[in-house]
Symmetry: C2
Subunit: 236 residues, 2 copies
Amino acid sequence: MIKYQQIAAEIDKHIKENALQQGDKLPVLEALMAYFNVSKSTITKALALLEKKGVIFQVRGSGIFVRRQKRKGYRGLLSNQGFKKDFEGVHLTSKVIELEVMKPTKEAAHNLNIGLDNDIYYVKRVRYMNGQTLCLEESYYNKSVVTYLNKEIVSESIFDYIQKGLGVKIGFSDVYLHAGKLKHEEAKHLCLESEAPAFYVETIFHLTNGQPFDFSKVTYHYEQSQFFVQTNSHFS
Amino acid sequence: MIKYQQIAAEIDKHIKENALQQGDKLPVLEALMAYFNVSKSTITKALALLEKKGVIFQVRGSGIFVRRQKRKGYRGLLSNQGFKKDFEGVHLTSKVIELEVMKPTKEAAHNLNIGLDNDIYYVKRVRYMNGQTLCLEESYYNKSVVTYLNKEIVSESIFDYIQKGLGVKIGFSDVYLHAGKLKHEEAKHLCLESEAPAFYVETIFHLTNGQPFDFSKVTYHYEQSQFFVQTNSHFS
């Protein structure tokens, strides 16, 4: 980590450990500079990072304030680290239904930006949160990037493995959400009746160089589908 | 607009007008400096803004690339400008069901961070996209911020009015999504059967100083609920 990232992490930790609430005021810029013994530009970069992550907001002429999610049980949509990280503190398990090397579907090939004759790993899992059915997940990994998977790996955190084991550098992702009615087969896996509400999240994960490597379709149990997004005024 | 914001807007316009696609390469930093005749730090700031907005991605040692949403018909979740802006190019209409000054519900008071004896504007509308039922919207506005509304205003874009008419400065927002089954009254307004899938989006809009001023609960017709989010590698 670079210095400003370290400082951002320390401020983040401070906010969490002291259970600061949205609107709580942080020390002024000069005090932070003195405390961390760094230049104004380093603190400014650290604060910009925290603002981008939705941890603080800055009010010109007034100060730096804490920003916090108010509701429990909602999963952040902007995280990019796979489930395990998103669901810290809950017990997450998986039942692997299918794992195989195959040619991509047309849809997967399109989203992964590869040809229909390329190899992919197809992984189908049902995931459970503290024993409750959370979602049905189908993932298509470009095999030229994710070169190896086995049943043991896909029973645990695939993202953990591909980052640490395969050295894959995960960049940005595109997330599409929509609602619908469960198809018979989806309903079966989620222990719901057909036509029950379905909350679909499709994600295209890219490498830092922009190449898509994972197209993932997740169907959530509607009672478990709670998501949270923070927006910044920069988007206006 | 400050210089770097102007340049960001120009690059954004260039990408859209030329229909550049995700992965298309933009000129290198030095070429952009020369073209806009500005310093490296100005271009760097413009590019950082575009990256934050999901318009480009930068690959160290490789260049600057276009980032674009691939699918049509999905609404960006990170926009903060109200519906009218999000749905540019579609014909959006509203039917006002209720507009009144009242005391907040417990839930609204909590989310607006006000007391139960404060006044709010309550607005209930059904919104239509090209004539199709899009959503049922209930909004609670803190009346000490949104001091005046009338039927004419709430038939159009409320956000447009409160920004231009009342001079309200809109800051960040917190967005909560969940799924469920439509209650009888919601179903009626959306012309769907009870228990049909419901896609709920609750948003707490804040002023730039962090004060919440609008708590909005929107129930989407499930066939119209398509949303899009771009994440950045910064979140990892």
